[in-house]
């Protein structure tokens, strides 16, 4: 089984988000970038399934610029066999999906995994687009993924419950907890990652269908109105008469 795991390079979850003064770009200064937390589920599960089968390969794919390479190496240290970076700024979901679909087709991958969304653009779009571009099913978001031969059994989260879905490879799945416990690199992994192949290729298409005109932060809160423990009833009253939410 050939696994293709797509990872995004995103600001760490503790990042205080700021933008350039014109509001056009994210302010990267002093920001630590990490592998998108949702993608970590995809990566670890692919490695686990390869280990359980005793054969197969796990390839990591990133559509991004050279500054993503430390995190691509980290994915190799966690246990991926090789990596591909499509050297391009990820303009929008459709742009990224086209690059992934191209790499997947050229490489003949059986299972294409990624996180349910990136924590920067929160699109929840790329997996569905890749599935449609390749004409194969997408299961999103998947909470569980098991493989038996060529057949996968997945649990897909829907509002208020889950569905059990069975599909034959090739397919796309987007991953989330509680699929697995994401692994962290060990010393041996870090050593071997240095010599694992990381291929850089250029974008196959430039088409994008959306563009960000500007960014903005949410308006600041007015300040908290405090009550004491004995004023619980006054708080409830304020929620009804002042905030009008009860």
């Amino acid at each position: 089984m050939k696994f293709l795991v797509c990872i995004s390079n995103v600001p760490d979850t503790t990042t205080k988000i700021t933008f350039t003064p014109d509001g056009k770009e994210f302010n990267k200064a002093g920001v630590q970038f990490v592998i998108n937390p949702w993608d970590e589920y995809a990566l670890t599960r692919a490695i686990e399934l390869k280990e359980a089968a005793g054969s197969g390969t796990v390839t990591v794919l990133n559509v991004g610029e050279a500054d993503a390479e430390p995190n691509i190496r980290k994915a190799l240290a966690i246990g991926a066999d090789d990596a591909i970076r499509v050297n391009a700024f990820p303009k929008d979901a459709f742009f990224v999906a086209q690059q992934i679909a191209h790499v997947a087709k050229e490489g003949g991958y059986d299972v294409i995994l990624m996180g349910k969304e990136s924590i920067d653009f929160n699109g929840f779009q790329v997996h569905g687009m890749v599935g449609e571009l390749l004409g194969i099913p997408t299961i999103a978001p998947a909470m569980k993924l098991d493989m038996s031969g060529n057949t996968a059994t997945l649990e897909r989260e829907i509002e208020g419950g889950k569905e059990v879905v069975q599909v034959a490879a090739p397919f796309v799945a987007s991953c989330q907890q509680p699929m697995c416990e994401p692994r962290i690199p060990n010393m041996r992994g870090i050593m071997t990652a240095r010599t694992k192949p990381l291929k850089v290729v250029e974008a196959t298409s430039q088409e994008a269908r959306t563009s960000v005109a500007s960014f903005a932060l949410p308006p600041a809160k007015q300040g908290v109105k405090l009550f004491t423990a004995d004023q619980a009833a006054d708080l409830v009253k304020a929620l009804r008469t002042e905030a009008k939410v009860l």
């Binding site: 503790t14 459709f94 920067d120 449609e132 960014f215 908290v224 009550f227």
Partner: protein, 325 residues
Amino acid sequence: MSVLVVIECDHGDVKKSSLEVATYGAKVAAQLGTTATAVAVGEASAANLAKLGEQGISKVLHDADSRLKHFVNLAYVKLIAAAARQESAQVIVLANSNIGATVGSRLAVRLSASLATNVVELPTISGGAFSVKRGVYSGKAFAEVSLTGERKIIAVKKNSLEAETAAGKTAEVVSFSASLSDADFADAPKEVKMASTEGGTLLPEADKVVSGGRGMKGPENWHLIEDLAKALGAATACSKPVSDVDWRPHHEHVGQTGITVSPNLYIACGISGAIQHLAGVNSSKVIVVINKDPEAPFFKAADYGIVGDVFEILPKLTAAVKALG
């Protein structure tokens, strides 16, 4: 040219988020000087679909194929694409739900459309330019995004606008067939398991949420959260550390790597307010924080607060809510 809205139904009822989608679609249609048609998915009843007139929908397409009762990605996509072609839809509006967004991303490729998910406001349309405001950085910011394609697909975040109810107006329900074949059901679910909410409210659809953190000290104390939630008609939720140690199920985890909620009222009990948790809740309209630590960062993001012991305060709040009637 028209606007097509996708209506999710469950047990014959139109989901609340879909009433918002219908309202959104009707308003976009008014902006464009056209009409809004709906297409129903899930288990729908013609009587409830006709009521979509109250949200400004003029016509509803209904495919009564019983295989569409549960979510089947490929079949839903084919159905909506057929409806979009028949109605020459320029804009398609869906809920930013696991169903809506999943279907939307496939449709965007099939119909060569520009797609925006997680949209929080009506679009800005001027001349040929069409842009929408959407949540980014997991609730920490917004982006104004230009949709440059001929056709646009918009997935609207729940609770972003109030559903209109113009009483008495009805929509015409028209039967519709996308001529689905067995191949369109290749990814049909083998089994559907709905979480038991014991008569309570589902978190993603909830107007009000009561949430607990590590300050609740253990799962045995959750009845205090549940009692308040029940009195309010609210859903229950939790912070990441709580679901990580299995005090509560993962689907209740609210935050950057859990689910993002935007209810009218969010009550946080014994949650300090780490930046990752705030990202999941800061689009709530009103936030109430109860914490014994006056320095808890959550108070900075709150509208109302009580500094004190959650075990003492929760029963008092529950009693006060019940007394309101």
